[in-house]
Symmetry: C2
Subunit: 472 residues, 2 copies
Amino acid sequence: MTPQSAPAVLPEEIAVVNVGLPLFADAVRAQGGPVDQLDWRIPANGDPRLTAALTTLLGDHAARIDEANAEVFRRLDTGAPSWTAVVTAGDVLPGLGGRTLLHCGPAIEWPQVCDPLRRSMRAATVAEGWAADVAEADVLLRTGRVRLEPANPNATVVPMATALGPSMPVLAVDDQAGGTRAFSAINQGPGDVAWFGRETDAAIGRLRFLRDVAGPLLATAVEQAGPVDVLGVATQGLAMGDDVHMRTQASTNLLIRHLLPQLVAANGPAAVEFARYLSGDHLFFLNLAMAAAKSLTMWAEQVEGSSIVTTMARNGTTFGVRLAGCPTWFLAEAPEIGDALFNPGFGPGSGARDIGDSAVLELIGLGGAAAAGSPAVAAFLGGTMADAAEVTENMTDICHGTSSRFKMPTLDMRGTPVGVDARLVTKLALTPKVNTGILHVSDGTGQVGAGVATAPLDCFSDAVLNLARRLT
Amino acid sequence: MTPQSAPAVLPEEIAVVNVGLPLFADAVRAQGGPVDQLDWRIPANGDPRLTAALTTLLGDHAARIDEANAEVFRRLDTGAPSWTAVVTAGDVLPGLGGRTLLHCGPAIEWPQVCDPLRRSMRAATVAEGWAADVAEADVLLRTGRVRLEPANPNATVVPMATALGPSMPVLAVDDQAGGTRAFSAINQGPGDVAWFGRETDAAIGRLRFLRDVAGPLLATAVEQAGPVDVLGVATQGLAMGDDVHMRTQASTNLLIRHLLPQLVAANGPAAVEFARYLSGDHLFFLNLAMAAAKSLTMWAEQVEGSSIVTTMARNGTTFGVRLAGCPTWFLAEAPEIGDALFNPGFGPGSGARDIGDSAVLELIGLGGAAAAGSPAVAAFLGGTMADAAEVTENMTDICHGTSSRFKMPTLDMRGTPVGVDARLVTKLALTPKVNTGILHVSDGTGQVGAGVATAPLDCFSDAVLNLARRLT
């Protein structure tokens, strides 16, 4: 400023625009000053190693990664898997030799297994006929005489605390374009069931019912009806308020309608018992959708050098992710479920940590990605459709693109976000939201609520650091 | 203006705000001038008799009518009718004595009956066993040896060109609060069917199938399952994209899911044939919803001195309305269907005029009233959800209130408009929109499209003039 210039005049009123830490804005606001808070965060939370990795991955190597990501996205977005059969797990899954149980999430040893999953494993051990009761099952599991094996590396995904033995039937889903075949257990239904961490006689009985009654009837029904276009059904279900994760009621009903002639053709008391189970299981379609999503991620993960997540799974203790083109899991502690509605008598202290392989749905544009379209999900997020839309917006910020098939009427038929890009997750320090149920942490009550879990950041950051190392 | 004032200065630029007739705005626009057109109409289109009637009905008598309307609205909004039984039409409907057919819309004589309804009547006459073929049926109908009777005064509503004989099964719906019982035929399904104006052997066969197979199986199913809360299902269906008129897929699927155990319990080839029919009929729930709506309007029409419409029905030739508390029909020519999508090879010239009793749904907050929530309906209105929302907004302008049960996720769970007030219709010259199918006008093709019909204004105006006379 030169001496000739006019003297500085202070304005009579000032207002503050605060960028970053809300602490400063709060201080101004506390003194009655007008303030606008800009939601901005230092990239990668200011971590220098991550910043260096991201500089590479979003800079010099960006074009190469973008190309790989485009192909991963294409596979996740366009694969059209069909439900073709119901088969016996032990016949098709090489990892299920001898006395082995498949479980959700990353690999885990018995001492680290959480309470609801332990109960489910004991129930499965009894249902397999390896133990007379859950006490005996506990001994077998504790002493390693029943082996534990994660489902994901075995082309299989299982929801919540499902444990899957070799005698159990699995839904087989084939993606022709990718040549992949994925499996999931049959959904166990609501109430007193092992996948909710129950080990009662009824829960064990439900597993036997699925094996002895539901499996054979479903096998016949799908054989007679012919292949079912799973994501075609999900697309319709989504337009009918399903997020196809927390809620699959519309999709389940569409499937029941489709199979009705085959279901009615099956005579006898067993068929009626099965009808009663199916009529009462709003989440029947969940497992089918998961197997379909898995068949797509199995195709997508064959692409090298991508930053898109193709595995996201939890065992109630750890939360793990993998990127396309890399078999390594990156782990973090499984989160508690923040945005939740609990059943009467239960609260945040009652809830076990996030569990199940169902987060595979969030990778292909369903679940949290589709929250904006689902009034049922909105109920867990504050109640208004705007709350639900925010979850979808956040997912959009960290995804490669938007779905060409999953459209949300509430957002004027916009596609749901697809292809979680670990670079964006890390840069924005914004992780996927996962719609999920909540199991009791310790006493075997079963499901005590449902809500929306926020994935932990560290596993994504580690995956990004690893990708940067691999590419340089 | 005093001589001292500054001389008038013309502005350099002028812009026009035009109120009313767009002609003036067009003239300015044609000369390149900026113009805003305000959508305003002279009340009651400037008709002096109507203006006088409305001055009374919205003035001196407003409080009295508003009170009656509040009670009509309460009945339409809160009645909770249940589907309780399937019975034989001739056993329960006094109007069906001897050789009589019930038909949609206002009373009509054979010479005025439109082509698709004639075909449907001939098919029904053959199915009843009164004639050996449609040629013989035509003679019986033409010579008055088969009587025609409107369904509405017989506590019955039938969709599209349905004609109902005494041997046919009807769905019985009871509204406990009002003590009313209403009926509808069983939906005939898609394709080669009489309610679409077909009179082929297949169409006649479908009527016999409904009587001999579907009726008894449905009667047993509902007896075993217990009463079904019809509008409870519709409420869920609405949140799943049904307008519960043009589209009832979600509601139908919910019903199938509910009845699944009973349907599977019915053994044998007939049960499988029925399952195949039910699995393929997305509009099965339509007739049930109509009977439920009719049970509410029958309760509501017992209120005296109201300006709310409790009958709105079309026979393909005339369009008729009745107000609560008055048995008189007010008629106008049935409209052509304006906003429509036609099947390939068909266009506006192929379409018969608006037909069927299904517009009763628009009176209780479904159909056009619920368009904003239905992507399927949006497709007929220009394709975007905003187009569909406009239909709901227009209905809101002419309705007494909004539904406490039918909520639209697309409008952040706002209730659909309920209770069409003939005063508002007449004042705004804005009539209800009715979602509907379109039948071929003359050659028996059956359904050739679907769209949204605009009710004719005159019948509402006449009802308003009559109400003004009755009250003064």
